[in-house]
């Protein structure tokens, strides 16, 4: 019997014991909520008790809704987190959040800064993975937006059936530095190829807005809710440059 099977069995037969088993998870999530400014540090014990009380009333819903698709531990974490958010909304606390962005002034020593950047790099890669089929197009548009020279492989991954002639045109415009080219010009050149690839007839403006909306979305997700960080479209460039840098070095 796996650990998850044991949890499922406990959920059916003795859910109170399951809540006791995962008290550590409750405490960790409450601590992280305090670190995020959702609760005050002095409220730790009270919040843990409130969460446990809410969990006990939520047992019937968990028994009927949990179907064993995810690990119970993860599902339990989602439930506890949602209870914390509801408690916060109920008490209508003021959120006091440390809003330093990673590219703003930081008092951390150099080693801690490196660790934080590594963490942010991983978060950025995770967010990019959300885009599924749109990912090749998004990576292509990020390169254009942040003026990172394209490679033939970028074009190929986004537009596998691109003809050699079309590829040459794109490489001529964007294969080397193109910092001086403005956004309007870039999308005027790229939009016909995008429409060819996707069999659509989007306007230049529509394609530009798609890119802007995705960048804005990435920034929102990186900053979190409630907002913990201060990324902007400009500071996102640090992560984008870093993401593409191994491939730039090889070229």
């Amino acid at each position: 019997m796996t650990e998850n099977d044991k949890d499922i069995e406990l959920l059916r037969s003795n859910p109170q014991a399951l809540i006791i088993k995962y008290q550590e998870i409750v405490k960790i999530i409450v601590k992280k909520s305090i670190a995020a400014g959702v609760f005050k540090a002095s409220e730790f014990d009270d919040v843990v008790q409130d969460v446990n009380t809410a969990l006990l009333t939520k047992i019937p819903a968990m028994q009927s809704q949990y179907n064993g698709m995810s690990l119970f531990k993860t599902y339990f974490s989602v439930i506890v987190r949602n209870i914390c958010l509801k408690e916060h909304a109920r008490n209508k606390r003021e959120i006091s959040v440390d809003q330093r962005g990673i590219t703003g002034s930081m008092d951390h020593p150099h080693v801690e800064e490196k660790f934080i950047f590594e963490h942010e790099r991983q978060r950025f890669k995770t967010i990019l993975s959300f885009y599924h089929r749109q990912r090749p197009k998004l990576l292509f548009c990020l390169k254009l937006h942040y003026r990172i020279p394209l490679t033939p492989e970028d074009i190929y991954l986004w537009y596998p059936k691109c003809s050699s002639a079309d590829q040459n045109v794109l490489m001529e415009h964007f294969g080397s530095k193109f910092d001086e080219t403005d956004d309007v010009e870039i999308y005027k050149i790229v939009t016909p190829f995008m429409n060819k690839n996707e069999n659509k007839s989007n306007s230049v403006d529509a394609v530009r807005k798609w890119t802007d909306s995705k960048i804005s979305e990435i920034v929102q997700v990186l900053n979190g809710r409630p907002k913990k960080l201060n990324y902007t479209e400009d500071t996102l460039k640090t992560l984008v440059d870093d993401f593409f840098s191994p491939f730039l070095l090889e070229n």
Partner: protein, 251 residues
Amino acid sequence: MKQPDNYFSDDAHVSEETLALYVDALSLNKIYLLPAAVLEHVSDCEECKLEIVEVLSLVEDRACHAIDPHPYLGKKAKLTASRFSVMYRIAAVILVGISLSVFFYLFRSMRDDRNVFISSSKVTEAVHPETEKGRAAKKEVEESRQRVFADNFSESPNLENLVSSASRSVSTFRASPKNGAIVNQQILFEWKTPEVESVTVNILSNKEKLLKSIRLKKSQFLFTGTLDPGLYYWKVENKDELLYVGKFLVK
């Protein structure tokens, strides 16, 4: 484990358990095994992205490299592998059946001139590009071919993460072909390590299917097999660890 009726809650966002499943998949680098409907929704939904990133930050300290297989992702991986194997067998049987049918049809046609004339005119009517039915059929086949072709170039999220990690140490490993290179058939894989050791070289499709595996005590390997146009990955590993992951394109 019963299959859910729906992966979404009443507010049209991912349900609590689907959210937990997505987080599990990210932790295990297996998001490609998630239901397509979930991947498509999250790809377009900022709200769900925020939720997933938040929950991931709560559980990321916790090791998710379970000794036990994941209740959904572990089973799905096995099912996908066996399903592919069955699909290839069915496709092979159908192909043989069609080939035999065409052979017997032509053989009969050659014996009877009158039947050839009538059948030819029927076949001509079905595939003649001037008829509406023929045009529609051709268009559908072409679109389907395009979709399959594009799918051969889609990235594997799991292997892309490994490629990105490996790229940072590329200067010590010095492998060829370079990441993202477009290659012809007959690919020479080369690498340089401080000392020659016994390694296994694996070549995988973008769907992580193992196409070729060879064990050798050299620092190069000439692949002479045939690869369809698409995106491929290659790994070099010794008995203790994964040394390198690269990717290349076949046009």
